[in-house]
């Protein structure tokens, strides 16, 4: 069974003319045991989807299930095995960080004391300060420690590292790797692509409340183009005429162009036949994948050329 199964999810806020269709037939499948990246431009509906999965918003259509249960009706059972960290953590200003960590973990059955101590050290959090005086990053650490200090089946993170420094970000990655080694499932919404590339096996990209792409990172890379910088005797026109070659230009005596991933073999064969003096091949980055989807005027419009970097 998949940990999360969302089909055709619709969420409309408000009524009548002032209503917003935040989710418009969204699909999302998170397999048990995987780290799933959940990506999309601002306002795409990531947080809304997560709140539906947490049973905090009621869907207006479609279906959603977590561990095979309905998140709206069965929230208590789901939440016992779930840890959540919102992107913008707000805490009780008069409680200390330590008190809040204890409160949140006790609601789920209590923290693992040794784990709690280790996490406080790793995340370098002073648990005696009132939450009022914590910085944004420190507030986020409180929620992260509360999430990690007790084992959960499913971890849901909504931009969990947006306020963390790079050292803390790496602590976060290590913790995600630890919990997945233990068999937990992670849904990670993030704008930090390096984080997603490093942690996630599969990603879902959404836009305007709809899923535009979903699959393994490798399969998604397939959908983009690899850029070539080649020193070659081949004539520019000949190369430009090859199938799958785009945006050819000459820079400092080198040919610069992008190639569809499917057409790579043919292009390489042609180049080899003509002779190669230098070759730089840049694989498609997730960022390019992103820019392509984020920048599209419509999700189903034909792919536009990727900007050369």
């Amino acid at each position: 069974m998949d940990a999360i199964e969302v089909l055709g999810l619709v969420k409309v806020f408000g009524r009548g003319r002032s209503s917003t269709r935040a989710l418009d037939g969204l699909d999302l499948t998170v397999r048990t045991g995987e780290v799933h990246g959940f990506l999309g431009p601002n306002g795409a509906g990531k947080s809304t989807t997560i709140r539906v999965l947490l049973g905090q918003l009621r869907s207006s259509g479609g279906s959603a299930s977590v561990f095979g249960r309905n998140p709206w009706d069965d929230s208590v059972a789901i939440h016992r095995d779930l840890a959540y960290v919102p992107g913008d953590v707000s805490l009780w200003p008069n409680l200390s960080g330590g008190e809040i960590i204890d409160l949140l973990t006790r609601l789920r059955g209590g923290a693992d004391a040794a784990l709690r101590t280790r996490l406080l050290g790793d995340f370098q959090l002073d648990p005696t300060k009132k939450a009022r005086s914590y910085s944004k990053g420190n507030r986020q650490k409180v929620a992260l420690i509360a999430a990690f200090a007790r084992r959960a089946e499913l971890y849901v993170f909504d931009e969990p590292t947006s306020g963390l420094d790079p050292v803390m970000e790496s602590v976060f990655r290590a913790e995600v790797e630890r919990v997945t080694r233990d068999g937990a499932t992670v849904l990670l919404s993030s704008h930090i692509l390096s984080e997603v590339e490093q942690l996630c096996e599969r990603v879902t990209i959404i836009r305007a409340g709809r899923t535009v792409e979903s699959g393994t990172l490798a399969s998604l890379r397939h959908l983009t183009r690899t850029s070539f910088h080649v020193g070659t005797a081949a004539a520019a026109d000949d190369i430009a005429r090859l199938p799958g070659v785009h945006d050819l230009a000459t820079e400092a005596g080198q040919l610069v162009f992008d190639v569809d991933t499917d057409s790579m073999t043919g292009v390489l064969a042609a180049l080899t036949a003509a002779g190669i003096t230098s070759l730089t091949v840049t694989p498609p980055s997730l960022e390019e994948l992103f820019l392509r989807h984020y920048g599209d005027p419509k999700p189903d419009a034909p792919a536009v050329p990727v900007d050369a970097r």
Binding site: R51, L57, S75, L104, R106, L107
Partner: protein
Amino acid sequence: MIQLLALRIRRDRVILPIWIFGIALLLTASAASVSTTFGDEAGRRQILQLALATPALIALRGVPNGVELGSAVYFQVYAFLAVAVGLMNTFLATRHGRAEEERGQRELITAAPVRRMTPILSTIILGVGANLLLGVLSTAGFAAAGLPLGGSLVGAAALVAAGLAFLGVGLLASELTASSRAANSLGATLVLIAYALRGAGDALGTPDLDRLTLSAAWPSWLSPIGWGEQAFAFTADDLRPLTLSLALAVLTGGAALVIAARRDLGASLLPERRRPASAGRLLGSTLGLAWRLQWPSLLGWTVGAAVLGAVSGALANSVGSATFENSAINDVLQSLAHTSRDDVVTAFIAAIMSLVGILAAAAGLQAMLRLRDEETGGRAELLLSGPPRRGGWLLASAGVATASTTVVIVVTGLTAWAAFLAMREPGLGAQSIGQALVELPMAMVFVSIGAVALAVLPRISIAATWALFAIGVVIGLFGDLLQLPDAALEASPIRHVPTVPFPADDLGGAWADIGVLTAIAAALIAVATWAVQRRDLTA
């Protein structure tokens, strides 16, 4: 400066007019009502004579000064209105002071090219403007009741002066405390202390029955509300005491400016203490959390309740020992207590305990409506991502709200009982406890209305509930004075609290009232628990 002031005005475009017009309206209505009810001089003379012999009434209302109509109006309305004006000002100062800073808006503002002092200066301008507008409307309100213009101006000036003093106090509170909640509590407490100080000073004053006035004892001279009373609008028209208020405004406002100029953004003069690194045993459930969040406020409410209980016990005794023809004073007490008993002490106890019930309802509502802050602040999102259900979460707060209400009522009842016991009046002590306890269902009706509002109309729940509460209180306490129709009077739960001891010929009616109020409260809380479970969390 102009933009920032415009921003502040925009933010207050609803709340401030409600305060200003609400106060002016209350003033106009009460002034008109006093003029019609006590139109003839003989009647006023009788009322004032009796009032002067009754320290309890003096403590609630203020200092009379002669038999003139204007003076009688001023005596009736000033102290109450001054409390409202004071709260309007301290809340205003916090809203644009500590609260703005807490929400991080101050950071955005000061990052723009504005001077460090511009935010607080624009708050001062807004506050002064609001008070001046209130002054104009109040002058018109007095004058509309047919009172002379000169006295109307002085009366309005006394309100404005108190308002400015409390504006300064509020600004200073924002500089001293580290959170908007603390700033609001400090400000409101100081307003109530000012009211209580003058209450004590006036009650302890020396009456002059010939000139129908009273020379207040020293505590009144420590209070901006006391200074306003001493202006004696419509008779002495003495502006000198008001300079004390203005001096206090300058002093506190100046201190706030000095601190604001020196301190870091977000810092406060009263430092934050360290907190424990791990939670106590109670803090592990929604109920534990609700209790943990509420008990510091509850402590404040309890102290207030204890003082009120002790004072009212002591005052009731002096009412009882006053030996005079007391038919007219009884009318006044009966209208305050909305009871028809002719026994002065019983009426007095009912009147005071009715205030206690209102205080208890406010304590409960504050605990209940905290839930909305939790939701808008995003803390509910974090909490409810765990196993607790929304229904249980609301119920936990309702439980703590019930406890707060009960504590306030029981503590007041007990202290009043102790006060009577000290005066060897155990019977009256028991009666006080009884009267306090029968206020509980009424207070819980207000709390349960808050719960339903939270569940059904989350976005407007806080404003709507407090507005309904205010209307209920005004109807309950001043309905007779304002000569409202019976249907309106019946709508306030306060009107349905029976008087202890229950009349022997209508025991059933008294118990029925208690039963109906209790049933309404329980039903509304059940509805709220059910309804909150089926709505979205709405930040």
